[in-house]
C-alpha cells in the first residue's frame, strides 16, 4: 500500500508540473504565430513522451531482471533434476516418490497443492519443462506418463487450462502450444470459446487442439468447408501432426478422401490428398478416381497421381497411362513417378513414351530417372537409350555415371510426400 501511495503521489506531482509548465509555455507564446505554437506543442509532448518512455523502459528492465532472477532460482532448484528426468528416466516409469526425491522435497512440501508460489513461477516452470521436451531426442516409451506425473506434481495442467480460458492473448497461445506439446486433455468448453476467436491463428490452434484428442464428432469441422481461404503449409504441418498424435493414441483417423471431396478450394483438396499418402489410406484411394477425372486443376491431378503411386493403387494404372500424354509436362512427371512406384507391367513402355514424346529436357530426364529407379530392367533400357542417344543428349546420361549426382537419382520416400515437384536436378530451360 505504501508503494502505491508513493507512486500515486509522484504521478500527481508529475501531472501538476506538466499542467503548470504547459500553461506557462502556452502563455509565454500566446501572441506568437501558429508555427511557433505548433513547435512548442511538439517539443512539450516529445519531452513528456521521452520521460514516460524512459520510465517504462526502466520499469520493464526492472521486471525483466526480476523475472530472470526468478528463472535462475527455479533453474538452480529444479533444473538439474529435470534434466535428469528427461535424460535418463524415459525408459522406465518413474514414481511420484522418485520425482519428489530428485527435487529434494520434503513430504510436507510435496503434499502442498502446487509447489510454486505464483503464476509467474508456474509459467517459468512450464517453459522449463517445455524447452526440455522440445530438445529431448531420446524419447523413451514412458516419457508421456512421466511427463504427466511431473506436471501433476506442480499442478500445471489446471494452470494451463486456466491460462487458455482467462489469460491474455499471448498467454492463451503459449498455453495452447504447451497443452498440445504435453498432450494434455483440455475441456471442450474451454476450447470452444476460442474456436470463434477473431484471431485466425487462435482459431486454428484451438481447432487442432480439439481435433487431437476429441471424439469422432469433433472432426466435423472438416466436414464443412473449414478452410474458407487457401490453406497454407502451416495448416498441413499442424494437421499432419494432429492426426499423427491421434493415430499414436489409438484414435480413429478420418477418411481423408471424403474430406478432400467436401472442400471447395482445390489447394485444400490437394492438402488432404497429400495427407492420405502420409497416413497410408490405401483403402480410400478409389474415392479419388472421380476427382481425378473431373478436376481441371493441374496440381490436384498431380497430387492424386503421386498418392496412387505411393500407395500402390494399381487399379488406377490404366487411367494414368491413358491420360498421361494429354497432360502438361509437370503432370506427366508426376504420372511417371506414380507408375514407376507401382512397378507393374506397363511402367517401362510408359516411361519410354514419356522420354520420346517430349522436347522438354526436364521431362526427359525424369523419365530416365524413373527408368533407373525401376530396377534392372529399367537400367538396361537406360543403357540401351544411352548407346543410341545423339551427342547432345549425353548430358542427361552423365548424371547416372557420377557417384555424387547418382545418389540423388532414386525416387525416395521423403520426396513422395513433399509437395514440391520431385525434381533433383534443374534441367528445365
Amino acid at each position: 500500500m505504501e508503494t502505491i501511495s508513493t507512486l500515486s503521489y509522484y504521478f500527481h506531482l508529475l501531472a501538476t508540473y506538466t499542467t503548470y509548465y504547459s500553461s506557462y509555455w502556452r502563455d509565454l507564446y500566446r501572441d506568437y504565430p501558429y508555427e511557433v505554437k505548433t513547435a512548442i506543442w511538439v517539443i512539450q509532448w516529445a519531452l513528456i513522451l521521452i520521460v514516460i518512455l524512459t520510465i517504462i523502459l526502466e520499469h520493464r528492465g526492472h521486471l525483466r531482471r526480476k523475472r530472470e532472477r526468478m528463472e535462475a532460482r527455479l533453474e538452480e532448484r529444479y533444473g538439474e533434476a529435470l534434466n535428469h528426468i528427461f535424460a535418463t528416466d524415459n525408459d522406465h516409469q518413474i514414481t511420484r516418490d522418485e520425482i519428489i526425491s530428485r527435487f529434494h522435497l520434503s513430504s510436507k512440501e510435496a503434499s502442498k497443492h502446487g509447489l510454486l508460489r505464483d503464476d509467474g513461477e508456474r509459467r517459468t516452470m512450464c517453459r522449463m519443462i517445455y524447452h526440455r521436451l522440445m530438445n529431448d531426442e531420446t524419447a523413451g516409451p514412458n516419457r508421456q506418463k512421466n511427463l504427466q506425473l511431473l506436471l501433476d506434481i506442480f499442478a500445471l495442467p489446471s494452470f494451463l487450462e486456466g491460462e487458455v480460458s482467462l489469460g491474455n492473448m499471448n498467454n492463451k497461445m503459449t498455453a495452447m502450444t504447451m497443452i498440445r506439446a504435453f498432450r494434455l486433455y483440455i475441456s471442450p468448453w474451454v476450447i470452444n470459446k476460442l474456436l470463434n476467436s477473431k484471431q485466425t491463428q487462435v482459431r486454428r490452434l484451438a481447432m487442432y487442439s480439439s481435433v487431437m484428442s476429441s471424439s469422432d464428432s469433433e472432426l466435423e469441422y472438416f466436414e464443412t468447408d473449414f478452410f474458407d481461404k487457401n490453406c497454407c503449409i502451416y495448416d498441413e504441418i499442424e494437421l499432419g501432426y494432429t492426426l499423427h498424435r491421434r493415430r499414436a493414441a489409438g484414435l480413429k483417423l478420418p477418411n481423408l478422401a471424403h474430406w478432400a471431396h467436401l472442400q471447395k478450394n482445390d489447394n485444400t483438396k490437394c492438402m488432404f490428398v497429400r495427407l492420405m499418402r502420409r497416413f497410408d489410406q490405401h483403402e480410400y484411394c478409389h474415392q479419388l478416381e472421380d476427382l481425378f477425372r473431373e478436376s481441371k486443376h493441374k496440381k490436384l491431378i498431380e497430387e492424386i497421381s503421386r498418392t496412387w503411386g505411393y500407395l500402390h493403387y494399381t487399379e488406377s494404372e490404366q487411367l494414368l497411362v491413358d491420360t498421361m500424354l494429354t497432360q502438361p509436362d509437370d503432370t506427366k512427371v508426376a504420372i511417371m513417378h506414380a507408375v514407376t512406384r507401382m512397378a507393374s507391367g506397363q511402367s517401362l513402355s510408359l516411361l519410354l513414351d514419356g522420354y520420346e514424346n517430349t522436347t522438354n529436357p526436364h521431362v526427359r530426364f525424369e523419365a530416365l530417372r524413373c527408368m533407373y529407379s525401376y530396377g534392372q530392367e529399367g537400367r538396361d533400357l537406360l543403357a540401351h537409350l544411352e548407346s543410341e542417344a545423339p551427342e547432345a543428349d549425353h548430358k542427361f546420361f552423365s548424371f547416372f555415371h557420377n557417384p555424387i549426382t547418382l545418389n540423388r537419382i532414386p525416387l525416395d520416400k521423403e520426396q513422395a510426400y513433399h509437395p514440391s515437384v520431385e525434381t533433383v536436378y534443374n534441367l528445365s530451360y
Binding site: 504565430p33 513547435a39 518512455l53 525483466r64 487457401n230 503449409i233 499442424e238 534443374n426
Partner: protein, 490 residues
Amino acid sequence: MSIWMTIYYVFCYIIFGYTLTIMASYLFFIFQSYRAQYKLSIDMPDDETIKYQMKGSPLTPAVSIIAPAYNEEVTIIDNVNSLMQIDYPDYEIIIVNDASSDRTLELLIDTFEMVEVPYDVAMRVPSKPIKRVLKSTNPKYSKLVVVDKERGGRKSDGSNAGINVCSNKYFVCTDVDCIVEPMALYRMMWLVINSHVPTIGVSATMLMSNGCVVDEGRVVEARVPWSILPMFQQLEYMRSFLIGKLGWSNINALPNISGGFGLFDLDVVVKSGGYDNTSMAEDVDMLLRMVTYMRNSGQPFRIAQVPKVCCWTEGPSSLRALYRQRIRWARGLFEIISNHRKLFFNPHYGPIGAFTLPYIFMFEFIAPMLELGGYIFMIWLLFIGGINWNTAFIIFGMIYMFSVLMCFFLLFFDYSTQAVPWYNRRRSYWHLALAAFIEPFIYHPIISYCSNVGYFQYIMNTTAVWKPIQRTGVKKKEKTKNEPHEDNKS
C-alpha cells in the same frame, strides 16, 4: 509586401508543412510497426516451437542460400563454415566464385573436397557463363555447391548465376561475409509457410556486427559498437528495419529486401528477370519488378519482414568507406526513381505504387536536396540579417526533439520485441539513447551531404566505382579469458 517576400513566406510555409508531414509519417510507421509486432507476437511462436514444428515435418520447404564471392581468400572458409552452421532441415549453399584472382576457389576445393560434377545449368536469368559446378565428395559437405563462373564484376551477376543453379523453390541471397543467425531460416520460412497468400519475399532484420564477439562463425555476444560511425549506423539500421520496414510490411508495401540477407520466391524472381547487372540498387530494382509482375498478372502476394535479427553485417567504420557506400546508395535511389517512375502514384501497383514510392520520392529522395537548399537559404538570411533567432531555435528544437523521440520509440520497440535479445543489458540502451542525442549534429549532415554528392554524380553521369568496404573484422572470442562481464560483476 514585395513579390520576393511573398515567395519567401510561401517557401517557409511549404517547408514547415513538409516537416510536419514527415513527422506525421513517422508516427504512422510507429503505429503500423506496433500493429505488425502485436500481430506477430500472437501468430508467431517462439524459436523453439517453430524449430520443433518445422524440423519434424517433411513439408518444410527446402531453401538455397546464394552467396557470391570475389577475392575472399582471407575469410571464405570461416564464412562457409558459418553458413553450414545454420540450423534448418533442408538447405543448400551455393557459393558463386566470380573468377577470383586470389586463392578463393582453390581453398574451397581443398578444404571441402570439391570435384566437378555434371550439372545442367538452366539459364533462367542473364549471367556470365558458368565454367563448372563443383560438389563435395565428402558427405559432410553435401549441402555445398560451388559455382565457378566468368567474371561479371557485380554481385548481381553472381547472384543470377546462383539463381541459375538453384534447385529449390525459395532462395536466400546474402553476402559471403555476413554472419547469419542459426535460426534465421526458420524465422523467415515460418512467415512463408504460415501465409495464406503467396509470399514472394521475406526481408530479414540486419544489424552491425562491429563490436560483437564472434566465435566459430556465430555472434555469441552482441554489443553496441563503440566506434562512432558504426554506432550511428546501428541506430539507423534499427530504425529502418524495426520501424520503417516492419511498418511498410504491415500494409504489404515493403519496397526493399536488403541484398545482405533476403529470401525470395524463385519462380517470381525468374519471371521478373532476376537481378539487373547494370543497376546500382539491384535489390530494390528486382523487388519492384517482382511487384510489377505480380500486379500485372493479377496474382495476390505478400512481402514480409522478420522483426528479429537474422544477420550481422560489418558496416563501414571509416568516413571514406561510409562516403563511398552512401554515394552508391544515393545513385541507386536516383536510378530507381527514374527507372520505375511508371509505378508512382499508380494504384494498379497496389500500396507500393500508391504510397511507398511517392513517399520515397517525397521524403527520402527530395529531403537531402531540400536540406541543402535550407542551409544555403540560412546562410543568405544570415548575411541579410533576416533570421528570427527565437523562432529558428524553436523550430530546430521541435525537429531535434522529435528525432530523439523517434529513437526512444525505437529503443522501446526493440526492448518490447526483443529483436536483439542480447541488448538486455541496460548500458546498451543508454548507449544508443546517447547516440540518439548526438546523431542529428554529426551523422545526419554527413549522410545528407553524401546523398547530394551521389545525386550530382548521377546527373553528371560520372562512372560509378564499386569498391568493396574495407573490413576491419569482428572481435573473436578469447577462449582462455574467463572474466565475468562488467555488467555481471556486481
